[in-house]
Amino acid sequence: MFVFPSFLQVEQVKLIDRFSTSNKSLVGTLYLTATHLLFIDSSQKETWILHHHIAAVEKLALTTSGCPLVIQCKNFRVVHFIVPRERDCHDIYNSLLQLSKLASYDELYAFSYNPKQNESKRLQGWQLIDLAEEYKRMGVPNSNWQLSDANRDYEICDSYPRELYVPRTASKPVIVGSSKFRSKGRFPVLSYYHRDKEAAICRCSQPLSGFSARCLEDENMLHAISIANPAHHYMYVMDTRPKLNAMANRAAGKGYENEDNYANIRFQFVGIENIHVMRSSLQKLLEVSGTKALSVNSFLSGLENSGWLRHIKAVLDAAVFLAKAIAVENATVLVHCSDGWDRTSQVCSLGSLLLDSHYRTIKGFMVLIEKDWISFGHKFSDRCGQLDGDPKEISPVFTQFLECVWHLTEQFPQAFEYNEAFLLQIHEHVHSCQFGNFLGNCQKEREELKLKEKTYSLWPFLLDEQKKYLNPLYNRDFSQKLVLLEPNTASFNFKFWRNMYHQFDRTMHPRQSVFNLIMAMSEQNKQLEKDFKELEAVSNLTGRLGKKECTLSHRGKIKCVPRLPFMLTFTELRGFAWVSCCLQHFLSCFCCPGQEGN
C-alpha cells in the first residue's frame, strides 16, 4: 500500500502565472501538510491550497525545466507548478490524489478543524439559525398551515427534514399516499409562505405518473395546498425541467402531473437543464476562460457554446415567473423537477429572495440556504464531490444559485445587505469541508455523522467577520416592505462573473476597487462620527474651563487662548486631567488625517 508522507517538502519549485505570455514565474518551496498544500515563494508570499479544494491534478509531459503539475481547484484557482525532478513531481502527484480523494466523511477537515473555541460557544453557533423561528417569521403555523409530524423519524422521506409544514386539511393518510406517488417520497411541502398574499411556494419531486397512473391522495394533497390559499381557486405547478426530459421520464414510470386529474392546476414547464448538462457547461466555460492569449471572439463564442449564461438566465427566468405568480396573481405555486433537490432548490430559493427582503440580509441569506438547500436535502456531498465517489453526481447547481444572486446584486446594488465577497466566501466553504454545515447529502445523514457534536457551524464565523461582507450601499428602505424585485432578464444583462471564475487571477481585475474604497470610507465615517462626538465633548469641556469659544465653522483658524482659572475644584481638576489625556489621544491621530489609500 502506498503510504503518503505526512510532510513532503520540495525546493526550487516554479509557480507559473497561467495567463502570462512571457511565462513569468515565482520560485519557491512546496510543502504538503495533512490538510494543505503550501507554496512559499522567495519573497515569502504564501499560497495555501486546501486538499479538499482540489478538483483535479494533472501531470504534464516533462519539459527541459522540469515536470509540470497543474492543479485545478473547486474555487476556480488553477495553479501551474514546475517541479525540477520528475520523482518529486510524481510523489506530490500521488500524495495529492490520495489527500484530495477521501473515502469516508470522518477524514474530512471539519472533523479535525479546531478554531480553539469553547464547547458552549460551538453549540451556540449551531443554534444561530433556527428554521422553526423562520417559519414563525413567515407566519406559519396559522389557520391554513401546520407543522406535520409525519416525517418525525424520517419514516416517509429520508432526504427531507423532520419538521415539515403542510396544509391543515392534508390528513396523514393523504400525506403518506402522496409521498408514495412521488419520486424518493418527496411529497409536496411548504417552502415559503407569503404573509401578505397568503400564497405559498411548495416543493416536491416528480409524480410517479408514468403514462396514466393516478393517485387520489396526491390529487387531494395538491387540492389541499390549493385551498390553503383562501384568495385563489387555481395554483401553478411548475415543472422546472425541459418538457422533453419530463416526457422521457414517463417511460420510467415517472413524469409530470396530468392537468385533467388535478383540480384547478395550471401546469408550466420552464426548461432548466439537468445536472449533467450543467456540469459539462461549466467544464466548457472553464476551458475557454482558462485559455492563454484568448481573443475576444474566441471568448464570446466559447461563452456562447458553453451555454453557461443561457442556463443562468433559465434559472433566473424561472424564479421571476414564480415570484410574479405569487406577488402579482396571488397564486400558490408548487415547484418540482425530477427529485426536487437541485433545480427545485434553485427556483424556490431565488423566488423567495425576489419576494422577501429578509433573505437579502446577511442573516436571512444564511437562513435561506439552511432552509431550501441544506434542510430540504440538496446533495451537497455528491454535488461538490466531497468524497471519492461518482463523478457524474458532481454538478455546479449551488454555484449557479450564487451566480444568480450575484446578477441580482448587480441590477439592484442597494437591495442587498451583503456583498460579492460574502457569496464568494460561502462558495469557498461549500467546498472546503472545513465546517459541518454542508457535509452529507441530507439532514438524516448529518445527524448520523453527529456534525453538531463534532464540527463547527460556518455561520457564526461569517457573522463574526461580517464587516467584510457588508454592502456599503445597502438601503434599508429598500427592504421595509415585501416589495418584489423585478430583474430585467433580457440577455444583455447577463455577464461573465469574472470575480468568481477568475477570483485568483488578479491581473484580470480592476486595479482599483470602488467597492473596497466605499466600504473603507463607510467604516471610516462611523469612526469619524465617534471621534467627532468625543472631540466635541472635549472641546466643550475645555471651552468651559478656558472660557473660550471655538466654533466648528472656523476650522481652527482662530486662536484659542484659554485663560486657566486660578482655582479648580476637585471635580474640575479631574475633568482637566481627563481633557489632557484625551488631547493626547487625539493629537496622535491628528498627525495623519489622510484618507485611506487604495
Partner: protein
C-alpha cells in the same frame, strides 16, 4: 430665411410621442430650423422633447390608415416614435425632418445660430493653444521647437499652423519630409515622457512607392528623436511596410458599430443569439486591438526606454487613437478633466481628425459612406474601459465621456465642426460659434462630470486587455434599452458617502486643530 422653405408643416397637433421607459405623451409638434419640439398641454410643461435635427441619424415612416408614424433614430443611439394624425401632415413633417437633419452647408448648422444663455468666463477657443503646450514642454526640455512652417496650411492641409518638432530640424527639411509623407503629415511630437525623456511621434505613412523611395530628411527627423545608441520603434497601424499591429480601417468600424447597436436594440434575443451577435459585431475585438497597440506604444516608451513613431495610412484615425490612449496610460495629466480636454484638442481636433466626415452619421446610417466611422467613439469606449479598471485615477466620470460622444455627433457648439484647423479657420468658428469648453468648464457644469472617487495617481496605469476584463459600455449601448434607475440611485448613494466623509474629516480635523492649539497654549502657560 432658407429654413422656412424646408419646413412644409411647421406644427401638428395631437401628436403622440413614444419613448422607452416613459409613458406616451400627447402634444403639439413644432419644427424650427434646428429643433424638433414636442410640448404637451400639461400645465407644468414637464413632458417636453427638444431634439436637435442634427442629432437625427435616420427616420422611417409607417402608415396605418390615416395615422402616420415616424420613427426617429438618433446619433446618440436613442429611438423615439411619433404618431401623427393625417397622412399628408405626416409626410410633410417626415420630409422636413429629413431635409433639416441633412443640411449640407456647415454654416447652416445650429452652432452658427446658437446664442448661449450663460456668461462666458473663459473662452474655450483660446484655452488650449499649442503655444501653451509648448511652454509646458520647454520647462522640461530644450530639444524641441515650435515650428510655424504650416502657418498658411500649405505644407500640410490637415495640420495646425504650429507643430512641435526636433530643434535640429529646420523648416526647409520639414517641407521636404512633408512631400515624402501621405497628405504631407510629417512626423511631429505627440508626447514627451518626462520620466525618461522618451517621446512619441506621429505621422502618416511614408510614400516609399514600389521602388522603395527614401528621403534622407525623413530619416534625419526620426533619428533626431532618438538618443545616441538607442533604438526606436515604429508602430504601423495600417498599410505600409513596417507592419507591427494589424488594425481595422474605418469603414470596418462603422459596420461594427451598426451591428453592435442592432444587437443591443433587440431585447428578444435569446442568450445564444445575443452572444453571437455581440461577437459578430467585433466591437470588443477592435477595443482590444486598439488598447493593445496603445499599451505597446506606452510600454516601448516607459519600460523599454525607447522613442516611438506611430503612423497609419493617413495618420488621422487609428494613429490618433493609439497616441491619445498611450498618453492616458502614461500621463496622469491626461486623466484630469482639463488635461483630457487638452488631449482631445491636441490629439484629435488640432491633429486633424476629420470629425465632420467621420461623425456625419452614426449607428443608424444607411448611406454606407466609407468616410463615416466611429473612430472617436471607439476611442472614448477605450477610455471608459481604462476608467473602469482604474476608477479612482480619473478626475472625470462616465458622463463626461458620454457628453463628448454626444457633442461629437450633434452639438450647439462649434468645437467639433469642420475636419481640421484649416477648415475651422475658414469657417471663422472661433468668432461665429461658441466653444464646447466654454460651456463645460463652468463650475456648475463641471460638477456633473467630476468623479467623486478621484485621487491623483502619478503612476503609469496598465489596463488589462484580456477579454474577461473588457465589457460592453452599457452606459452608452444599453442607455435607451433598459432602466438605469437602481444603478443611478446607487451612484447617488456612493456620492453621498464620499461627501459625508469629506464633511466629517473637515469637522474632525478642525476640532483637532483647535485642541492642538489649546494644548500648545496650555503648555506655554504651564512652563511660564
Amino acid at each position: 430665411m432658407e429654413f422656412a422653405e424646408l419646413i412644409k408643416t411647421p406644427r401638428a397637433d395631437n401628436v403622440v410621442l413614444h419613448r422607452p421607459f416613459y409613458p406616451a405623451v400627447e402634444g403639439t409638434l413644432c419644427l424650427t430650423g434646428h429643433h424638433l419640439i414636442l410640448s404637451s398641454r400639461r400645465q407644468d410643461n414637464a413632458e417636453e422633447l427638444w431634439l436637435l435635427h442634427s442629432n437625427i441619424d435616420s427616420i422611417e415612416k409607417r402608415f396605418v390608415g390615416s395615422l402616420g408614424t415616424i420613427i426617429i433614430k438618433c446619433k446618440d443611439l436613442r429611438i423615439i416614435q411619433l404618431d401623427i394624425p393625417g397622412m399628408e401632415e405626416c409626410l410633410n413633417i417626415a420630409s422636413s425632418i429629413e431635409a433639416l437633419s441633412t443640411l449640407d452647408s456647415v454654416t447652416l448648422m445650429y452652432p452658427f445660430f446658437y446664442r448661449p444663455m450663460f456668461e462666458v468666463v473663459e473662452d474655450g477657443w483660446h484655452s488650449f493653444l499649442p503655444e501653451r503646450e509648448f511652454e509646458l514642454l520647454s520647462s522640461v526640455t530644450n530639444e524641441w521647437r515650435l515650428s510655424y512652417v504650416n502657418k498658411e496650411f500649405s505644407v500640410c492641409p490637415s495640420y495646425p499652423p504650429a507643430v512641435t518638432v526636433p530643434k535640429s530640424i529646420d523648416d526647409e527639411a520639414l517641407r521636404r519630409v512633408a512631400t515624402f509623407r501621405h497628405g504631407g503629415r510629417f512626423p511631429v511630437l505627440s508626447y514627451y515622457h518626462k520620466k525618461n525623456g522618451m517621446v512619441m511621434m506621429r505621422s502618416s505613412q511614408p510614400l516609399t512607392g514600389t521602388n522603395g523611395r527614401r528621403c534622407k530628411e525623413d530619416s534625419a527627423l526620426i533619428n533626431a528623436t532618438l538618443r545616441a545608441g538607442k533604438r526606436g520603434y515604429i508602430i504601423d497601424t495600417g498599410g505600409g511596410f513596417e507592419q507591427e499591429v494589424q488594425y481595422p480601417q474605418y469603414n470596418i468600424l462603422q459596420e461594427s458599430l451598426i451591428k453592435l447597436v442592432e444587437a443591443c436594440n433587440d431585447q428578444s434575443h435569446n442568450m445564444d443569439r445575443w452572444l453571437s451577435k455581440l461577437e459578430a459585431s467585433n466591437w470588443l475585438t477592435h477595443i482590444k486591438e486598439i488598447l493593445t497597440a496603445a499599451c505597446l506604444a506606452a510600454q516601448c516608451i516607459d519600460r523599454e526606454g525607447a522613442s516611438v513613431l506611430v503612423h497609419g495610412t493617413e495618420g488621422t484615425d487609428s494613429t490618433l487613437q493609439i497616441t491619445s490612449l498611450a498618453q492616458i496610460i502614461l500621463d496622469p495629466r491626461c486623466r484630469t478633466i482639463r488635461g483630457f480636454e487638452a488631449l482631445v484638442e491636441r490629439e484629435w481636433l488640432q491633429a486633424g481628425h476629420p470629425f465632420q466626415l467621420r461623425c456625419a452619421q452614426s449607428a443608424y446610417s444607411n448611406s454606407k459612406q466609407k468616410w463615416e466611422s466611429p473612430v472617436f467613439f471607439l476611442f472614448l469606449d477605450c477610455v471608459w474601459q481604462i476608467l473602469r479598471q482604474f476608477p479612482c485615477s480619473f478626475e472625470f466620470n462616465e458622463h463626461f465621456l458620454i457628453m463628448l460622444f454626444e457633442h461629437a455627433y450633434a452639438s450647439q457648439f462649434g468645437t467639433f465642426l469642420g475636419n481640421n484647423e484649416s477648415e475651422r479657420y475658414k469657417l471663422k468658428l472661433s468668432q461665429k460659434t461658441m466653444s464646447l469648453w466654454s460651456w463645460v468648464n463652468q463650475p456648475e457644469e463641471l460638477s456633473k462630470f467630476k468623479n467623486p472617487l478621484f485621487e491623483a495617481n502619478s503612476l503609469v496605469i496598465w489596463p488589462s486587455v484580456a477579454p474577461q476584463s473588457l465589457q460592453l459600455w452599457e452606459g452608452v449601448f444599453l442607455r435607451w434599452n433598459r432602466s438605469s434607475k437602481f444603478l443611478d440611485e446607487a451612484y447617488e448613494e456612493m456620492n453621498n458617502i464620499i461627501e459625508y466623509n469629506k464633511e466629517l474629516q473637515a469637522k474632525v480635523n478642525a476640532l483637532r486643530r483647535q485642541l492642538a492649539e489649546l494644548e500648545t497654549d496650555d503648555g506655554m502657560q504651564e512652563s511660564s
